[in-house]
Symmetry: C2
Subunit: 254 residues, 2 copies
């Protein structure tokens, strides 16, 4: 879409036993969401709906494709965006990770052998909740608040939960939140981001005292415009300064 790098066109052969699954977190200053897609199976003869549930997004990988590339491809298919924050967090490969009847039926109907183990490499990703298509592989896509996720297909509930833990741990130690903010942001936005993703409340004055110590959060000579209240000062995150001063972490351990 608005990226300068061309996405490679894949012509290779897909690896049937190896996939990536992406837990895509979306943030909108109100809540943390995860991207789920509908999985509807209908009886071919009667046309009756057999089941209707939800999965994460994922895909098998091409033989000539790196794992990170495969995950980025899933994201690109969904959003048209490249260079989105993406982190590998765990690989899932229990021989019986697909055993429920619905899951086996779904695989069989999609031309796969339900008795063959599929190992899947889990990634999580973080983006702003806008910028996403509403369809993927012909299936409906929906944002779901993380607190309301239940009954996912396959072992996707496990994958989702581990991803959420990994994301929160990462946010406590590394400056990944800036992926979700505009170039210039206010301190209230930054605070809200931590509150929403970590699921906590923070004190405004203490929060500001803390970030004031972080030299890589640079106050600009610029304010919000057109807001119906006192306009806030804008800041930006200086990644170079951060890499230099890297001892002082965003240490939000609670």
């Amino acid at each position: 879409m608005n990226s300068s790098i061309e996405q490679k066109t894949r012509v290779g052969v897909l690896n049937d036993y190896l996939s990536v699954d992406c837990v895509i977190f979306g943030f909108d200053f109100n809540q943390l969401n995860v991207l789920l897609v509908d999985r509807v199976m209908v009886d071919e003869l009667t046309g009756k709906e057999l089941f209707n549930d939800l999965t994460l997004t994922g895909n098998h990988i091409y033989e000539d494709e790196d794992l990170d590339e495969a995950a980025a491809r899933v994201l690109f298919d969904l959003t048209g965006l490249q260079d989105i924050y993406l982190e590998q967090f765990k690989t899932f490969g229990a021989p019986d990770r697909i055993k429920r009847e619905n899951d086996r039926a779904w695989l069989a109907a999609n031309g796969r052998d339900p008795d063959k183990r599929i190992v899947t490499v889990g990634y999580y990703s973080l983006l702003a909740t806008d910028k996403v298509t509403l369809e993927w592989k012909g299936r409906n896509v929906r944002w779901t608040p993380v607190a309301g996720v239940r009954d996912l297909a396959f072992d996707h509930m496990d994958i989702f939960q581990e991803a959420l833990v990994a994301l929160r741990k990462k946010l406590l130690r590394e400056p990944i939140g800036f992926e979700l903010l505009p170039e210039k942001f206010t301190l209230s936005q930054l605070q809200r981001l931590y509150e929403v993703i970590l699921g906590v409340e923070l004190d405004k004055r203490n929060f500001r005292k803390k970030v004031a110590r972080m030299k890589y959060l640079v106050p600009l000579d610029e304010k919000q415009k057109g807001v119906a209240h006192k306009p806030a000062r804008l800041y930006n995150f200086d990644r170079d300064l951060y890499e230099l001063n890297r001892k002082e972490l965003l240490d939000f351990a609670i």
Copy 2:
């Protein structure tokens, strides 16, 4: 060996494209070591040594085996021990991760197709430097101080370096060090452990002040015996107490 659980005898079929690699760290109060095995290849005709370098330990996994099981099996083969601390940290699957001539020759000589991508799930493990056999799959096994590791085969140098970073991060946040200490240990031993694994120096008085706050480090009414200096008080780590009081981490962020 001294374990109550029987190790399953494997009769299944090995998966050729999927392996685990174990970065086995060994601690001995003097330094942190990593377990490496010699890889020697000789020309079948001339008997001349073609190359002689080092690899990590790893293995392909059985079709009916979970990833964690496969890693535990590698460890069992090396040590005869079960229930050793083992952590999955990253999966490596670049299509060109095996491209050097030595590596391709080695694979070919071992009945594998060097052009077929092998995805490997990386684990690290932590144990005391004794308790290890000197041979594995007919190859020599050696402990090497982590500072002196270089020129490993395949992409094992990358795997090793990422494992070391992951181990250190983990030690900063979770009580994994106790895996390496006897049931009853002294505070100097505990301090030494952190110093050796993290590669830092810590102040004795400050260290003790810090651990005094951790209620789950319980001082015993017992002292060292037979040492040529003032005998130290023994402590033990109460995991139940730890799980309860779990906010106060062993927060050794430097």
